[in-house]
């Protein structure tokens, strides 16, 4: 085992151990924090597929995060009001079952990623950054003025949605759901990176012409990666909304996109566990610095600058001491 793998194992075990300890010590808020870390890490894992492997700098992933959130909000709101979502062409009822909500969130955000990706991937470089940002803003403004689902006020849900066989209102049980999903996503991302698809995607990032000569269209590769990436981030959005029992346009704002990107980069771009470590550190910083001063974002900004300028490869890079690894 090399140092990176050791670190990864330690992190994922720690993320499990802390809530278990907190459960026994009756510190439910610590479990909530850990749940937040797991969910935001999941969003980061999604972004990392586009960003780390594919080299697609998307500043619009908040769109998928928000769509996932609204999938949960809309379905659950209809379920709690007993108003069907649509009566024509067929009766569609709301639901408070997590698996159904997840499915809808994944499909909806994948579809959005397909449309946004198909348009955005016609461009590259800075254009790609800007156009993804603009699509995110477009959805943000739409959500603010969409009063049927709360507009800027957002939608709140009385009770957390249900998962068969578990009581999701118990913080630890909801954490475990998120943790298992995160582990599954990590496993999937690791498999993807090593599969022919991931290798081709990575190759397309390094040298487009090389991929084209073996008969693969980079556009299709990237679009597929973007859709997968959006779908995972959308799933994280649905979980995040369930954590807060609330969804609002804030989830769609470009600051959210920036933050998801920050998780990935603090941890280390293209590193499998980068988003996990990044999200954990970010949440920790937010809480420690927030206690020090009203102006804590200055320190956060300074710290970020230092990481970007002097700690290339993020925390994992600094510890494991190797350049970005894609093995």
């Amino acid at each position: 085992m090399n140092r990176e793998k050791l670190l990864n194992t330690a992190v994922i075990l720690l993320l499990l151990a802390i809530p278990l300890w907190a459960h026994m010590a009756e510190e439910p808020f610590l479990i909530t924090l850990a749940t937040k870390v797991a969910i935001l890490a999941l969003a980061g894992v999604g972004l990392n597929i586009a960003l780390g492997i594919g080299g697609l700098v998307s500043l619009g992933h908040a769109a998928f995060f928000g769509i996932g959130g609204y999938a949960m909000g809309i379905l659950a709101a209809h379920a709690q009001n007993y108003e069907p979502l649509a009566e024509w062409p067929m009766l569609i009822e709301g639901t408070n079952q997590m698996p159904v909500i997840w499915l809808v969130a994944v499909v909806a955000s994948a579809l959005a990623a397909l449309v946004i990706g198909a348009l955005s991937l016609r461009t590259s470089g800075v254009y790609f950054i800007m156009i993804t940002l603009a699509f995110g803003q477009m959805l943000y403004y739409f959500a603010i003025s969409w009063t049927a689902y709360g507009g800027e006020d957002g939608l709140s849900i009385w009770v957390r949605n249900e998962f068969p066989g578990l009581n999701t209102l118990v913080p630890l049980e909801f954490f475990l759901i998120c943790y298992v999903i995160l582990c599954a996503a990590l496993w999937f991302a690791a498999r993807l990176a090593r599969a022919p698809f991931g290798l081709a995607l990575s190759a397309a990032r390094q040298c487009e012409a090389r991929v084209e000569t073996v008969g693969i269209t980079p556009y299709q590769l990237r679009l597929t990666a973007f859709v997968i990436s959006g779908a995972i981030t959308g799933l994280a959005g649905a979980l995040f909304a369930d954590l807060n029992r609330f969804v609002s346009p804030t989830m769609l704002s470009w600051h959210t996109s920036g933050e998801i990107m920050i998780f990935v980069i603090i941890g280390g771009v293209g590193r499998l566990f980068g988003p996990v470590i990044g999200a954990a550190l970010f949440i920790l910083l937010e809480h420690l610095l927030g206690g020090i001063s009203d102006y804590w974002q200055i320190y956060l900004g300074g710290l970020l600058l230092i990481i970007v300028l002097y700690a290339r490869g993020g925390v994992i890079g600094a510890i494991s001491g190797r350049e970005v690894a894609h093995d």
Partner: protein, 306 residues
Amino acid sequence: MSLILILEQILNGLQFGVMLFLMAAGLTLVFGVMGLINLAHGALYMVGAFAAAIVAAWTGSFVLALVASLAAAAAAGALVELLVIRKLYDRDHLDQVLATFALILIFSEGTRWVFGSFPLFLDVPSYLSGPISLPGGIEYPLYRLTIIAIGLVVAAGLFWLIARTRIGIQIRAGESDREMIAALGVDISKLYTLVFALGAALAGLAGALVGAIQSVQVGMGEPVLILAFVVIVIGGIGSIKGAMVGALLVGLTDTLGGVFLPQLFGLFMEPASATSVGASLASMLIYILMAAILLVRPSGLYGGQH
């Protein structure tokens, strides 16, 4: 709707476009020459507005306030370039996005720390306030006409600077081949600092001009920043001409869309929902415009090889 009202709205769209141009020009210049994407451009806009508000409060002179906005934003720009931006030229866009995002946090909260959470006061000087009558009976604020004039002068100055002066030659040479002009003995790092400070000064000027008729407050740069991005993406990143065309397109689309869409929907919907639906669609209109243009021309209207 009368013809005069339509003309007045077109004028409003032009004026909004010119303001966007001031903001977008610096952004596109910095990208064209240094290949740098700068999210903190909006922070420099804010610096300009704050500097203008403070100097105007001290001296009571609007001209001095404008000078201060140029100087303060240029100084802040040069400082940031020397301390941070300089290290980012060789990095990929991802690092640039992140580092300049961090700069936004530092600038915004730093400004709030120094000046507090309440907006500052900056007003149109008395000799520019109030409306004047234009041919055709349009009553139009003199200050807005002044903004249009200043914007056009700045645009002309920029075209002249780039096409006719020694610095302009170096800038254009820097855009096409960095190593070569360094080899020719041009001090490339000094040139970069200069260009960055120039871009910052333009943003600062925009901030001060706009600040007089809007609210001078922390975070005022962010909505404009995103619009400026839309502008340079439409125009083609790195092209001053593209920034001008893009800014006017966005200004006109946004203004006219906001006015006419609700009325258009009013033709076949009940008034209450028409204003609401129309307003929603209007707020998304420029993004739709951008997507449409990029579909036809993936690197913008006047985009090169960037």
